[in-house]
C-alpha cells in the first residue's frame, strides 16, 4: 500500500513574548495509507488542528517532513492542492453570501464546472436552502456547507477536522455512509473527531496524538487488541466465592479488579489457565469471557485523560511519550 499522507518529526512552536514558548507539535509522525478512512484522535489542545493547518500550508512548521500523494510539502502544495479537499475546525464563510455563491466562487477559482456545485449541495442536503445567506444557517447547516466545500474538488485526499461538530444524529449517520461510500470509491479520508464510537465504526486506522506527539497508531482492531489483551471477565456460580477467587488469582500473578458480581482480570494469556486455577480451588466458573475494549477506553488510557473522581483535569494534562516515539509497536 502506498502512503497518501506522510508526516515525520513535525514540530511547531508558538512563541509569545508574554507566555513563552508552546510546543504545539513536538516531533509528530503520521502515516495514512491510500483508500483508508483514518481517524485522527487526541485530547483538546493536543495538536490535531495545528497538524492539519500545517499540512495545508496555512502555518509554517519549525521542522519536519510532510508529503501528500508522494509530493513533498509545502514545496509541492500548489501542485497537490487540487487533489486535497479540507475543512479546518468549523470553517467560517463570508456571512452575506449564499451557499451557492460561496461554492460557486470557490469552484470558479478552482476552475471546476458549475454543475459540480449543485451536485455537492445535493450530497450534503442543502439543495433547497442553497440560495439563502450563510449568516442565516444553523451550526449544522454551516458544517454541511463546509463538507460540501471540501468535496467540491472531488479530491483524492479529504481532510475533515471535526466534521460532525453540530450535525444532528441523522446527519452523523449520513456522514458515516458518505465517508464509507467515498472511501469505497478510492478517496482517502482523514477524520479528526472526538466522537470515538463514530470513529470506531467508520475508520480503518487511527493515529492518536497527545501533547504534540503520537501515542498510538495503526489499524483500529490492532490498537484495540493491543489494549484488550488478556482482559477477561469471570463470574462464579456462587457470588460469595468471589473474594476467595480473587485471592487465588492474585497469588498466581493475575491483576484482578473486583466488581460486585464479577471479577475483571487483565494480563491473562490463556483464559483456560484461569478456569483450571479456580477449579483446583474448588471454585466453578459460570462465565469466562474475553472483554472487548472500546476505542474510548483505549483512548482514555493511552492519553491518560480518564476523569478521576474529585479532580478536574486541565487541558494539557495528558500522556507525554518519550522523544523516542510511540509506546509499543502496533500497526504499521
Amino acid at each position: 500500500m502506498s502512503a497518501v499522507l506522510e508526516i515525520e518529526g513535525l514540530r511547531k512552536t508558538y512563541r509569545s513574548r508574554k507566555r513563552g514558548v508552546r510546543r504545539a507539535l513536538d516531533g509528530f509522525d503520521m502515516r495514512v495509507e491510500a483508500g483508508q478512512v483514518h481517524g485522527f484522535l487526541g485530547p483538546n489542545g493536543s495538536g490535531k488542528t495545528t497538524t492539519l493547518r500545517t499540512l495545508l500550508g496555512l502555518i509554517r512548521p519549525n521542522s519536519g517532513r510532510m508529503a501528500i500523494l508522494g509530493q513533498e510539502l509545502p514545496h509541492a502544495l500548489p501542485a497537490v492542492a487540487g487533489q486535497v479537499g479540507a475543512i479546518v475546525e468549523s470553517p467560517q464563510f463570508f456571512p452575506h453570501f449564499s451557499a451557492r455563491d460561496t461554492l460557486g466562487l470557490l469552484a470558479q477559482a478552482g476552475e471546476l464546472p458549475k454543475q459540480r456545485v449543485d451536485e455537492v449541495l445535493e450530497l450534503v442536503g442543502l439543495r433547497d436552502r442553497a440560495g439563502e445567506r450563510v449568516k442565516t444557517y444553523s451550526l449544522g447547516m454551516k458544517q454541511r456547507l463546509a463538507v460540501a466545500s471540501a468535496l467540491l474538488k472531488n479530491p483524492k485526499l479529504l481532510i475533515l477536522d471535526e466534521p460532525a461538530n453540530g450535525l444532528d444524529p441523522g446527519g452523523i449517520r449520513e456522514m458515516r455512509g458518505l465517508m464509507r461510500e467515498l472511501s469505497e470509491n478510492g478517496m482517502t479520508v482523514v477524520l479528526s473527531s472526538h466522537i470515538l464510537g463514530e470513529i470506531q465504526l467508520i475508520c480503518d486506522s487511527v493515529t492518536i496524538i497527545s501533547l504534540g506527539r503520537r501515542v498510538a497508531f495503526g489499524p483500529v482492531e490492532q490498537v484495540l487488541a493491543a489494549h484488550s489483551q488478556g482482559s477477561v471477565r469471570v463470574r462464579l456460580e456462587a457470588v460469595g466465592d468471589l473474594p476467595q477467587a480473587a485471592d487465588a488469582l492474585t497469588r498466581a500473578g493475575v491483576r484482578v479488579t473486583t466488581e460486585p458480581d464479577h471479577l475483571l482480570l487483565s494480563g491473562v494469556d490463556k483464559p483456560a489457565t484461569v478456569s483450571r486455577l479456580l477449579a483446583e480451588q474448588g471454585l466453578y466458573v459460570s462465565e469466562l469471557t474475553p472483554v472487548a475494549v472500546d476505542l474510548e477506553s483505549v483512548f482514555l488510557e493511552l492519553t491518560a485523560t480518564a476523569p478521576v473522581p474529585g479532580q478536574h483535569r486541565q487541558v494539557d494534562q495528558s500522556a507525554k511519550v518519550d522523544q523516542a516515539g510511540t509506546t509499543g509497536g502496533w500497526g504499521a
Binding site: L56, G57, I59, A81, F94, P95, H96, Q108, A109
Partner: protein, 337 residues
C-alpha cells in the same frame, strides 16, 4: 485568470461595494444637480440689468457723497470741528468713481467650465478615492476576518498570487468606475456649462490640461484604494484600515501642525499630508512664512516655499510602495488561523 474573474465577481457581489457605489453615484449626482441650480447663464438682459444696477449704485453713492460734503461745509461754516467726522477737506477728495462699481459684481453666478472644472475634478477624485478606500479595505478585511481568505488559500495555496489577484481585481474595478463616472461627471458639468454657464475659451490646450488633471485624479483614486487594501490586509480587519486612516489624518493634520507650531519650524505645512494632496491636484502648493514679514515697512512679501506635484508623487509613491510591500511581506510570512 479564473481567479481574477472570480475576485472581480466576488467584489461585485459584496454588499459594501454595492451600497458604497449607490452612495457615490447619488452623492455625485446630488452635487452636480444642486450646482446646476446655482449657475445662471448670462443673457444680454441680465448683463443690462447688472449694468443698470451698477450705474444706479454709483449715482446713489455720488449723491450721498455730495450730501455729506454739503453737510460738512455747513458745519464748518458754523465753526464746528469737522475733521474728525468727515475727514480732511470734508472728504471732498473721495468722490466715488464709476470704476468702483463694476457691472459684473451685480451679475448672477455663472459657471465657467475652463476656470472652475478642475476644482470639480478634485471633488470627484476625493469622492471616488473615499469609495475605493472603504471598498478596498473591506474587500480584503472582511475576507480575513470571516475566514474567507483561509478557504480560498485551501484552493489556491500561492498566497502572494491570491493577494495580488485580489488587489488587481480591486484596482481594475476602481479604474473602471473612475473612467466611467469621470466621463459622466465631465459630461454633466459640460452640460451645466453649456446650458447655464460658459464654455468659452475651451482650446485644445485647455482640454489637454483637463485631461492631465483627470489622469492625476485617477492615479489618486487608485493609490488610495490600494493603500486601504494594504492596510486592511496588514491588520487583517477592515477596521484596522479605517483606524489607521483616522490615525494618520489626526497625526498629520493635527499633531504635526501643533508640533511645528510649537517648535517654530519654518514652512511646517510641508510636513502635512494635505499639502501634498493639494499640490497633487493643483500642480503646486505655495507655502508662506508670514514671520519674515516686516509689516512696519508697509506691504509684506512673505518668504515662500513651493511644493510641486512631483514632490507629491514621491511622497505618495513611497507611502504606496511601503504599505503594499508590507502587506505582501506579512502575507508571505505570517501564519493563517
Amino acid at each position: 485568470m479564473s481567479l481574477f474573474v472570480t475576485e472581480l465577481r466576488r467584489l461585485g457581489k459584496r454588499r459594501v461595494t454595492r451600497l458604497m457605489l449607490v452612495l457615490l453615484v447619488v452623492g455625485l449626482a446630488t452635487v452636480a444637480t444642486a450646482f446646476s441650480f446655482s449657475s445662471e447663464k448670462l443673457s444680454p438682459a441680465t448683463v443690462a440689468a447688472a449694468e443698470a444696477k451698477a450705474n444706479n449704485n454709483y449715482q446713489n453713492s455720488v449723491k450721498e457723497w455730495q450730501r455729506s460734503v454739503s453737510e460738512c461745509e455747513a458745519a464748518a461754516a458754523r465753526g464746528d470741528n469737522t475733521e474728525e467726522r468727515y475727514g480732511p477737506n470734508c472728504g471732498k477728495d473721495y468722490q466715488p468713481q464709476p470704476d468702483m462699481f463694476e457691472a459684473n459684481w451685480y451679475l448672477p453666478y455663472q459657471f465657467d467650465f475652463r476656470a472652475e472644472f478642475p476644482m470639480f475634478i478634485a471633488v470627484f477624485a476625493a469622492s471616488v478615492a473615499l469609495f475605493g478606500f472603504i471598498v478596498g479595505a473591506s474587500f480584503v478585511g472582511a475576507e480575513w476576518n470571516t475566514g474567507g481568505m483561509m478557504n480560498l488559500l485551501l484552493w489556491r495555496p500561492k498566497r502572494l498570487t491570491v493577494l495580488g489577484t485580489k488587489l488587481a481585481a480591486l484596482l481594475t474595478t476602481v479604474l473602471g468606475l473612475t473612467v466611467v463616472l469621470g466621463a459622466l461627471w465631465t459630461a454633466a458639468f459640460w452640460l451645466i456649462a453649456s446650458q447655464r454657464g460658459s464654455t468659452a475659451k475651451m482650446t485644445a490646450g485647455v482640454w489637454r490640461s483637463i485631461g492631465l488633471d483627470g489622469l492625476r485624479a485617477l492615479a489618486m483614486t487608485l493609490l488610495v484604494a490600494a493603500i486601504g487594501f494594504a492596510l486592511a490586509s496588514l491588520g487583517r480587519h477592515t477596521a484596522m484600515a479605517l483606524g489607521a486612516a483616522v490615525g494618520i489624518f489626526a497625526v498629520s493634520e493635527i499633531g504635526i501642525r501643533i508640533a511645528v507650531a510649537v517648535l517654530g519650524v519654518q514652512f511646517g505645512d510641508r510636513y502635512v499630508l494635505s499639502t501634498y494632496a493639494q499640490s497633487w491636484f493643483l500642480k503646486q502648493a505655495e507655502l508662506f512664512d508670514y514671520h519674515t514679514c516686516q509689516f512696519s515697512q508697509g506691504a509684506c512679501e512673505p518668504a515662500t516655499y513651493m511644493v510641486t506635484w512631483q514632490q507629491s508623487a514621491v511622497v505618495f509613491g513611497v507611502a504606496l510602495v511601503g504599505a503594499v510591500a508590507a502587506a505582501f511581506w506579512t502575507m508571505r510570512r505570517r501564519d493563517i488561523s
